[in-house]
Each structure stands twice: as C-alpha cells, then as structure tokens.
Subunit: 229 residues, 2 copies
C-alpha cells in the first residue's frame, strides 16, 4: 500500500496546491483541516480536478495525522505550535514531518515581508522540539508559490530541503521532484531552515513590488546536485 | 568625466572579480586596499587582463574613497566596522556606499555556513549607521560567486539590490547590469539586506556540499522587474 501524505492545513492555498500536485502525480493524499467537512470538500475539489484515478480524502487534522507517517505542515505560523501540540499524541513513531511554515511577522499583526525571530532559530527547529523523539522534521517547500502550485504550469522553483535525518530528507526530495518543474536540492542541516524561511519573506516582497509569483533557482551546481537518488 | 568606482578591499576575490568585470565593461575603477602597493599590483593585473583601454588604478583605501563618490565595500566582516570608521572622514557628501559584506560566523572563528546576528539587522544596516548623514548605503552583490566573477563566463546570478535611497539603488542596478549575465532586481528597503546576507551562507553551504559555485535566480517576475531604467 502506498505511503499516504497527510497535508495538515491542506485547505489553505499552499497546502491545497501541494496536495493537488501530488495527487496529480499519483500520490495518495489526505487533506487535514480543523474542520473535517472543509477537508472533505477540498478533497472533492481535487478529485474533480484530477479525475477518477485520484486517491485523495479529507479528515480532521488529528485523524489525518494518525492515518499515516508522512505529514506536511502547511499552516500559518500562528497555528504552528498549537497544531503540533494537538497532533503530538497521534504522530506515529518514525514519522516524517515536513515543515513548510514561515514565521511571518503577519502572524502577530506585522508585515508579510518580515519574519519573527524564533528562539530555536527557525519554525522548523521549533517543530523539531515539539515532535516526539524519533520523529524527523524536514524543512522544505517554503519558496514554492501557492498561486503557481494551484495552477497547471510547471513550478519554476527549486525546493531546498533541510533536515538532520538524511534518509527523511531523501524521501522529501523524491516527493518534491514529483512536482513538474521542481528540482530538489539537499540544503544540509535543519538549522539552515531559517534561511529558507526568510527567503519567503523576500519573495513576498518581490511579489508585491513587481506583481509576480516569484520563486528561486539555484545556479552553478553540478547536475548531480539535483539528482533524486 | 565618468564616475569612478572605488572597490575597497578590492584585492580580495569578490572585490577583484567585481573590479575586473566593471573594467571590462568600460567603467573606471579604483582598487582600494590597506596596502597601496598591493592595490596597484591588483590594478596592473586587471590592466593586463583587459588590455590597453582599461581605466583602473590602485590606492590605499582612504585615498581611494576620497577620489570618488561611488564606493563598494568588499571586505570580510571582521574588517567592516573598522574600515567604515577609517574612511568616514574621507567619504564625500552624497556618496553611494555599496555594501556586499556578509557577516559570516567565520569572522569570529565560526563557520562560513552560518551568520552572526547583527544588532542593526544586517551588516548593511550597520554600515548605514556608520556613514555620515546624506550618504546612501545600498546592499548588493552578496550572492555573486567570487570564482565566477573572476572567470570569463557570464555570471548566472541575479543581483537583488536593497536601499532606502531609490535613486542610489537605481544607480547600483545599472552598475550590476553591466556584468554579463547579471539581472538586477529592486529588493526594496535596506532592512531586507539581512536576507541577502543570509542567502550567501546558504549558497556557501551548497558549494561545499555539492562542489559548485552557486548563485540564485528569481523566477516568476514580469520582465519589467529586471529592466534597469
């Protein structure tokens, strides 16, 4: 049975876009939401968009978490700690938690172009302190535009993947590379997530200033840097 | 008479590479160094590389600063405050100071893949507090690989330019776009320099991990975001 991906907060634009892309790529996705009804509606919308072969369902966040061992957090930063505490008892041992969260100052009424300072260094490192031992946090997908993910065009963006668990990072790079246009790059340890998170604030600023849906590409690396296995 | 560019710390790899590219583009460059002799040697090397039409000279840093109103700081972070304090009396009113400095933890014996926290937010904002009133600091060129700048190939990297002085930023974007391959992008206010500075630490990590000379490209913006005027 294929490993299902639970996209927690998957009714929001980033989560929905990732779910859509993975379902299109043939992955099994469980949309998680605070509201099971909204989760099921989102799943139905993806099913309608992708067609009959799609394997997608919707559940309340904790139930979605309990149903698999591959979790993606796609919630605004103001809900980050709360969601992790809520799902913590339901996280299966050995799970991978992919954290896409950017600690935008907007979370506390500030600007979307600025980030908050996080004591642990980054939202992803905060997550790593909140998950049970033996659960691996992988930081990724911070810089992929939700608008582009929700469209049909290839995603013109590299996904830099940071984790202290090399095997988990490899799994996530494979998952990233299933999205057309995405190249996945090993970005080293989880502590580097702080830079990925901040790049998003810069990209949001560029989007506002130049009216675009920006992403990033890393140049100057050998081809094998983008190889998935 | 054309506006000369003083590249302070221009005997180091980043400064030398920028100077080389600008001299090749027909700009007048003054290499600055603590040691006037080494500055003149670097200028002679560029003259030899570019040929007879090159306009490049070498001076001690303060003399180089006093000779023009377009300054580029290309020194390691450990020399950043000291150089600014030293040149301060020589900075002409209305000058533009382009700060390329990245506050790598290596400056205090730490890693090249980590940055120091700067009280003002970034090295560039620290510079803005140290220059005389009426002098504009522009953050740029953090992410262009010194190795690539010192070669002949086009530089496969965007230069994000941040400043609180829109006219100065425009001048710097024009200067950036004279380097083959570079696209210059308005990155907003000087406070955003902190993100540009941190991206360099990420790129250095990628270079070490993947054996490359990485740079970044911003995708998803309209063509006019890269237009120089």
């Amino acid at each position: 049975m294929p490993r299902a991906i639970a996209v927690l907060g998957g009714t929001g634009p980033e989560g929905f876009g990732l779910a859509l892309r993975w379902v299109r790529a043939g992955e099994t996705v469980i949309i998680g939401s605070r509201d099971a009804g909204r989760a099921r509606e989102a799943a139905a919308k993806i099913l309608a968009a992708v067609g009959g072969s799609a394997t997608v369902s919707g559940e309340e966040n904790v139930a979605a978490c309990a149903a698999t061992d591959l979790l993606v957090l796609t919630i605004p930063f103001e809900g980050h700690c709360g969601l992790l505490k809520q799902i913590r008892p339901a996280i299966r041992p050995g799970s991978i938690v992919i954290d896409t969260t950017v600690p935008l100052a907007a979370s506390v009424g500030g600007r979307v172009t600025r980030t908050l300072g996080i004591w642990e260094g980054s939202a992803a490192q905060q997550a790593a302190e909140l998950v049970p031992q033996g659960v691996s946090v992988v930081a990724a997908f911070h810089n992929t535009s939700a608008d582009i993910l929700n469209g049909d065009a290839p995603v013109d963006c590299d996904v830099i993947v940071c984790s202290d668990d090399a095997a988990a990072a490899q799994t996530v790079r494979t998952l990233a590379s299933k999205i057309p246009g995405v190249r996945a790059i090993d970005g080293g340890k989880l502590e580097n997530a702080r830079i990925l998170e901040q790049i998003t604030a810069l990209l949001i600023g560029l989007n506002i200033r130049h009216k675009g849906h920006s992403g990033i590409r890393i140049t100057g690396l050998p081809e094998k840097a983008y190889a998935v296995s």
